[in-house]
């Protein structure tokens, strides 16, 4: 391992600009003469718009334009789309209700977009919006996930019973048969609480139209600028792709919420031509709560069939998934192929059958949020196995060990083919780091102080590196999920890498450069990673689903292979040797068995000067591109162990210990990987203990600010204990599995297994806030007193 190569904890290249305040986020971009957009949003969860009068707003000071859904329709601007087709059990296509960027006659959630006001200043745009007159005929709202299908009110004409689809996976008959032969059946009812992603940088967009070129530029907070351009062009119809440039500059966190193509950037870029000025929109935090795509929101009943020895025979699951008022960009894939395909967990389960009903409600759209389906699956599998162990009087770690998959590749009953792993190794290591042996003593000591101490496991698995294009295509994806890269070697030997991935906190400028530095022997400071601009970078699929290492870096490997091959040809001419005799190592080309060598930078220069080789045989220059499509998903897995201590008098929970042992395959930069794990765990603990989006019965979002939605703060969390095990991923050249989501996937189950252990009842819901915990603790004490 070199000092900056693969496996080194290199300090991040991107940090210099962020710690000095020189980052360039979308809101930091200032265009000459830009004006401001303000969206008038629906105050009602469900209403028909009887009248929309914008005359007074148009005449307000500073206002340049007021636009409604009619204006978009007149310009043939299409609605927002959902790019993943799901078919119901009966073969019918999912029921996608129309999703206009600005409402057409009806609003379906609080925060839905009614009109946009463009003005010289933001204050004038807001003042103008005050003058818009809307007559709403308020309709009853459908809010409850489990009750949506039985509601008398229907959101979309195309979707009877507010049902998007009724989907199923697995072998129903085999599962029923296994349950018939079971020695023990564990049943569990779970709610996976609705979350708001809350990247610290609110969404933002600047649209600009250049009449000379007849072309638009959109600066936007996107995790995947090319996908945004494709959708805005081919489906929404803003402009042809070659007349639309999308730039995603520094992006302040995404966690999934910035994958999607939203109404606001659509309108901002379209309106820039209408008003003849660049149009800027920046979300405020309450708008973000109202209109960013939310995450999770499942109601699940699950049953686990066991034999007398504690071997799992079958799992059956029924989930109702709330997708909100409209189908967001990838919403339909989350509770189906990103969820139920992981219901086998780390276990060898012979039969699984899962049904998922997706429903519309008068709430913000729900889509991928860090983990996207896999936290929900892990929560089901890990809560039910822990519960089964308790019911059968078995040690929860032992029960897991008895059922772990041990032979690879392993075909689960729900599509996935696990390629590599050692689940026992990560469990053992985590138990050692967490000092599980000493837990009994710690629990007794806590009891003496009047505290309830509990321990919970989560042996999770996830499918990452979301790709193979044919595979996802067969499951309904509207796009292939390969990745692209171009490696441009400059004449002086410095390197630019153009990647289709996009970094919004992950540190690609460092990790990707580490790969190039190791391969080409070029120093880190001579390598630039270029991303986030459709005019600079070839088409790429972007960053989500922990895919940029496994898929994005693999594309760079392919391009580097081509660069090396080409450079060897040039070097052979420079060294007057046969190409087959040229070796390349540590930035030097050598001739086998001789001391003749030439440095990489000299080869680069000669490749461009092109004096010393026949250009009829070898093209001048040194620049290669590659598209990489993996052969399988990757399967990061591991074991998280959480230990909590509860004060039953106040309901306050302290995370006393949190241990994570993960197998991510080969680590490029352990420092960055650890940081990804920390952040994921914090979001998972947030889901378990503090966070929850709450709508009241009329559809008002009660948790629409940081005063009401409890983001985890530093004093809610401990320092984490991390460890790693490694099984190389066989499905990509670097052996990488991906690390971005593991913490958020594993943590909720680990925390809730610890909470239910401490409280002595399975009936503890997320978020386990002090009030909720206090209630459970009090009723448990009453029960104990009565006995």
């Amino acid at each position: 391992m070199t000092k900056t190569g693969i496996g080194a904890s290199v300090k991040r290249k991107e940090d210099q600009r962020f710690i000095t305040g020189s980052g360039q986020y979308t809101d930091d971009v200032s265009r000459p003469g830009h004006v401001h957009a303000y969206f008038l949003r629906s105050p009602h969860a469900h209403a028909v718009i009887r009248r929309l009068d914008i005359a007074a707003a148009k005449a307000a000071p500073g206002v340049l334009g007021v636009f409604t859904g009619d204006d978009l329709a007149a310009d043939k601007i299409g609605g927002l789309i959902c790019g993943w087709m799901i078919h119901s059990k009966d073969g019918s296509a999912m029921k996608a209700g129309a999703h206009p960027a600005l409402a057409q006659g009806k609003v379906r959630y609080v925060g839905d977009h009614v009109a946009v006001v463009i003005a010289e200043t933001l204050a004038e745009a807001r003042d103008g919006a005050e003058k818009i007159i809307v007559d709403y005929e308020v309709l009853p709202a459908v809010i409850d996930t489990a009750g949506a299908q039985a509601a008398k009110t229907q959101l979309h004409d195309v979707a009877p019973r507010n049902t998007v689809f009724e989907w199923a996976i697995g072998d129903k008959a085999a599962t029923e048969a296994a349950f018939g032969a079971a020695h023990h059946v564990t049943k569990i009812d779970l709610v996976n609480n609705r979350l708001v992603p809350n990247a610290m940088e609110p969404r933002a967009a600047i649209g600009e139209y250049d009449p000379g070129q007849g072309a638009y530029t959109l600066w936007t907070t996107s995790q995947n600028p090319h996908v945004a351009r494709l959708v805005l062009s081919a489906f929404i119809g803003i402009a042809p792709e070659n007349k639309l440039r999308v730039i995603a500059p520094d992006v302040g966190g995404g966690f999934g919420s910035k994958i999607f193509i939203y109404a606001e950037e659509t309108v901002a870029v379209w309106a820039s031509k209408k008003v003849g000025r660049p149009v800027k929109w920046v979300s405020d935090r309450t708008e973000a709560f109202l209109s960013d795509a939310h995450g999770r929101d499942h109601v699940t009943h699950a049953e686990l069939a066991m034999d007398a020895k504690g071997k799992i025979l079958a799992l059956r699951v029924k989930t109702i998934a709330n997708l909100g008022a409209y189908l967001s960009t990838f919403s339909s894939s989350v509770p189906t192929y990103l969820y139920a395909t992981l219901l086998s967990g780390q276990y060898d389960i012979p039969a699984i059958y899962a049904e998922v009903d997706a429903v519309y409600t008068n709430t913000a759209p729900v889509d991928a949020y860090r983990g996207a389906g896999r936290p929900e699956a892990t929560f089901v599998v890990e809560r039910i196995i822990e519960t089964a162990a308790r019911q059968m009087g078995l040690d929860p770690a032992d029960l897991r060990k008895r059922n772990f998959v041990r032979k690879f590749p392993h075909q689960t009953p729900v599509i996935m083919m696990y390629d590599a792993g050692d689940y026992r190794a990560s469990l053992d290591k985590a138990m050692e780091i967490a000092d599980v042996k000493g837990f009994g003593k710690r629990k007794r000591e806590a009891a003496r102080r009047g505290r309830l101490r509990g321990l919970g496991y989560s042996t999770y698995i996830e499918a990452c590196g979301i790709a193979p294009s044919q595979a996802v295509g067969s499951l309904g994806a509207g796009v292939g999920l390969w990745e692209s890269a171009e490696v441009r070697v400059n004449p002086t030997g410095s390197v630019e890498v153009l990647t289709g991935s996009h970094a919004h906190g992950q540190g690609h400028e460092t990790t990707f450069a580490q790969l190039v530095s190791e391969r080409l022997g070029v120093p880190m400071e001579s390598i630039n990673i270029v991303h986030g601009d459709t005019d600079k970078v070839q088409f790429g699929m972007g960053t989500y689903g922990s895919r940029s290492g496994a898929v994005g870096m693999s594309a760079i490997v392919k391009a580097l292979d081509k660069v090396e091959a080409k450079a060897k040809k040039v070097a052979a001419h420079l060294l007057e040797a046969a190409e087959a005799d040229i070796d390349f190592k540590d930035g030097k080309f050598t001739v086998k068995g001789t001391d003749k060598s030439v440095a990489f930078a000299d080869v680069a220069l000669n490749a461009y000067v092109a004096h010393k080789f026949p250009t009829s045989e070898i093209e001048p220059g040194l620049k290669e591109g590659a598209f990489y499509d993996p052969t399988n998903f990757t399967f990061p897995a591991g074991c998280h162990i959480c230990e909590v201590e509860i004060d039953p008098e106040t309901g306050v929970t302290e995370i006393a210990n949190y241990t994570a042992v993960d197998d991510f395959g080969v680590l490029i930069n352990p420092m960055i990987v650890e940081g990804q794990v920390h952040g994921g765990i914090a979001q998972g603990i947030g889901q378990a203990l503090t966070e929850g989006a709450v709508y009241d019965a009329s559809g008002q979002l009660l948790t629409a600010s940081y005063m009401d939605y409890c983001m985890p703060r530093a004093d809610n969390l401990p320092s984490f204990k991390l460890g790693f095990t490694e099984t190389r991923c066989p499905s990509n050249p670097l052996g990488i599995k991906g690390c971005g989501e593991a913490g958020a996937i594993a943590a909720p189950a680990a925390v809730m297994n610890a909470m239910t252990d401490a409280l002595g009842t399975e009936a503890v819901a997320m978020p386990a806030t002090p009030q909720a915990v206090w209630k459970v603790a009090q009723s448990q004490q009453k029960l104990a007193a009565a006995e």
Binding site: D28, P61, G253, I672, E674, G675, R713
Partner: protein
Amino acid sequence: MAQTPKIAVAMTVNGQDVSARLEARTLLVQYLREGLRLTGTHVGCDTSQCGACVVHVDGKAVKSCTILASQCEGAQVVTIEGLAHGDKLHPMQEAFREHHGLQCGFCTPGMIMTAVDMAQRLGTPDEHTIREELEGNICRCTGYHNIVKAIDAGCHEMAKGQHRQAAE
């Protein structure tokens, strides 16, 4: 409608005297970002919870979204852009880089300004105190683990620097 009345405001920002005529309702953060183009100070919420906008006003950490520019008349304001001495980073900036105390970087300027204030008030606080002091700064990326480590290290570096200064 009448023009919104403007008032004259003068202050020192990062050592430079600045003045402007501003709408009375202009927040300090708006003046810094839009008036002076000091975009390192960020806005992450609208309820003074997230701390992305923390700057120093007369040596104290202040959420610049919660103070009017006009309230800073005559004040010494320091933003993230003014923390380093030329190319030499402030020890707290160095500590954030050294300990990977940032990911997306959006909360980072506010975190660093809060951390410097913490060191100035408390010297070298323990982990528990650092975590409690960070109540007003939200980070969504790091889980705070490395921010806490960075602040601990930065506080110790700042304390060493003060010892050096005192000895000189």
